[in-house]
Symmetry: C2
Subunit: 391 residues, 2 copies
């Protein structure tokens, strides 16, 4: 089949807060070909991503993403890799391109899976979608009491793992952070996994990050996520070498395979966290999963948005028994909940699995999304390059 159309939909909550909560808006991607529809989702910044799809060409290797996608043939997984390579080369100098491509690439897998009547994880070579332990991805409360209560709520909701992130942690005294870690552990109890995410708060300050290692070990934390700038490999490696029980985690900012590989090889992380909505989609994420296995590092998804993005993010490691933990957006904004008509829910054992259904296995109900649609128009030299399409 040919890729006949790629439509981008900017969706948003009516109010965007200052929380580091990526579920507040979305760029939904609809790809049409051969009478079928595939859906995908870009992780971040809808407007620049739309602009990267439609912008006028700047020169030979700074072309809009659309030019390398529209009209292409899609019959096999190799076609998806070929289209991605075409975007990579033709949009070399367009920084936003990998984020824009990510949602499109997911939609191509969804479309191909629907055409073949196969789940994407099977197209990736896995024989089954193993059940994973979902962890509730939560924000630290403003006080340890709020953190404690959120941890308890996660247990009540059936989670046996939870990650706390952002909020006040890393901004004040070590003792204050330790209180939050302890509160999270108390709320979860000792039979659950606890992970901590500090969202690059320490920049490249190794000592500031290292001061949190003992409190994290005291709380039995499994990993310590993104202590530093995404590119500060030397800081990651120095922290990993401090000999704590807690492992360093990172990788969500990777927008190509090399960035993730280098965080493993030079940064010494123990968990590599990949966002399919940023790294260029499912194909590059699968490459990182293979690298992680080869290097004895654990692959984990990074997902803080809809269950469309969740399904996509589970495909690259669906069949990997080494990777049993899975990020699960436990308290997303209503928009993220509404993007899919069906959801990936915890089973009786509190586990989840990628859908055993064609493509990504998620249904989109346009009617639910109309209230969130952000009408957008981009005009260049009087020509409309983009206007919100009809859902």
């Amino acid at each position: 089949m040919k890729i006949e159309a790629v439509d981008l939909f900017y969706l948003s909550m009516p109010e965007i807060t200052d929380e580091a909560d990526g579920s507040q808006d979305a760029l939904l991607v609809r790809v049409s070909g051969g009478g079928l529809i595939g859906w995908g989702e870009c992780e971040a910044a809808p407007l620049p991503s739309i602009a990267a799809f439609v912008c006028p060409k700047s020169h030979g290797v700074c072309r809009p993403v659309g030019e390398s996608v529209l009209g292409q043939t899609l019959e096999t997984p190799a076609d998806i890799a070929r289209i991605s390579a075409l975007v990579g080369y033709n949009s070399m100098d367009l920084l936003q391109a990998p984020h824009t491509l990510s949602g499109i690439e997911m939609a191509l897998w969804d479309l191909l899976g629907k055409k073949r009547g196969e789940p994407v994880w099977r197209l990736l070579g896995y024989r089954q979608a193993l059940r994973k332990t979902p962890y509730a991805s939560l924000l630290f409360g403003e006080t340890p009491d709020i953190t404690l209560e959120r941890a308890r709520a996660a247990r009540r909701d059936g989670f046996s793992a939870a990650k706390f992130g952002w909020g006040p942690v890393g901004r004040g005294e070590v003792a204050a952070d330790a209180d939050h870690f302890a509160a999270a552990r108390e709320g979860l109890d000792w039979d659950a996994h606890l992970m901590v995410d500090v969202g690059q708060i320490f920049g490249e300050d190794i000592d500031a990050a290292a001061a949190r290692l003992q409190p994290l070990d005291d709380a039995g934390a499994l990993w310590f996520e993104e202590p530093f700038d995404a590119g500060a490999f030397e800081a990651y490696a120095a922290l990993a070498a401090r000999g704590a029980q807690v492992r360093v985690a990172g990788g969500e900012a990777a927008h190509n395979v090399h960035m993730a590989q280098h965080l493993i090889d030079y940064g010494g992380i123990g968990f590599v966290q990949i966002d399919c909505g940023r790294i260029g989609g499912i194909g590059p994420a699968k490459k990182v999963a293979d690298m992680a296995v080869a290097r004895g590092v654990t692959y984990v998804n990074h997902t803080f948005t809809s269950h469309l993005a969740l399904s996509a993010s589970m495909q690259p490691f669906a069949g990997l028994s080494e990777s049993h933990i899975c990020e699960y957006p436990a308290a997303p904004k209503q928009l993220a909940e509404q993007i899919t008509a069906n959801h990936i829910r915890l089973d009786g054992d509190g586990l989840i699995a990628a859908p055993d259904a064609p493509g990504l296995g998620m249904e989109i109900d346009p009617a639910r999304l109309v209230p969130y649609l952000v009408e957008t128009e981009i005009r260049v030299k009087g020509r409309v390059l983009y206007a919100t399409p009809t859902l």
Copy 2:
């Protein structure tokens, strides 16, 4: 002073060709504060970069670049670093942010230099702007004869160094490439520097790149630029280890200091090429220049656009005697020529220097630019987020 306004101007030639010629469009940046004006230029993709400046916030660390710049205080170089760090943290999840920031950051240096009555290179700590050997940055011809003629023309124009890039090289047989290298050398003669740029054509294919080493050595090439994907450090290191005379060069794609540092530390390059219009501006470029000196690697600018960008790109290594070669856009499109009213010309010895004048020392004549202005409008929810400002 306060940063009162940041205006972005999308300029373009009437026709954009498929050449890898970055001088075909530009995003000019005007920053106003304290009754003064500073000018800068983003290297690539005007529309996504404008979108990154004005886009609605997606969440706490995915904010538009404008939010971290407008209204800030600017009194010292440290303020520029502070504003850049603010953009880095607040726009963490906005991939296009470093490209957008680059032009703004340059304009902040220009503005501060004008306020202080000092050239930017002096604000960076250099006591003088040393003269550099400009190399004509040219595209390979479709045939070796055209390449030969372009090389001869560069000598006639007074250049004692030239770099040839892109075109047919790397796309066919090694022998055909060797003919181009030899033609370039013949046209330049043996007393000139010859450099070769293949624009990532070999992906990660080390053997294909290595097959060009002997022809490059035969032609006495000084460097072999961007043989691989910007992130393929292992391929760079493997090629550098093959023991050729020609050194490997790269770095133009770096959009932060870490990327450049890692290409040096893990990729083993001999020349690090920094584009101030991509890496976040002049401040980060200066950091890379300092790293290069410390590691015995030669810093070079990457500039293929206007003399505003050229002046900005010369500042970070203006006083470094180790770095005597300087990229000079020898055959830019008319637009790039028109962006500045004054130009950095070769002196009687065929050398150039960063202007000894306040700020970047370049004058912008708005009247010359009006014919190139690309009228652009971005509307979100009926509100105009961007409309081309008055020049």
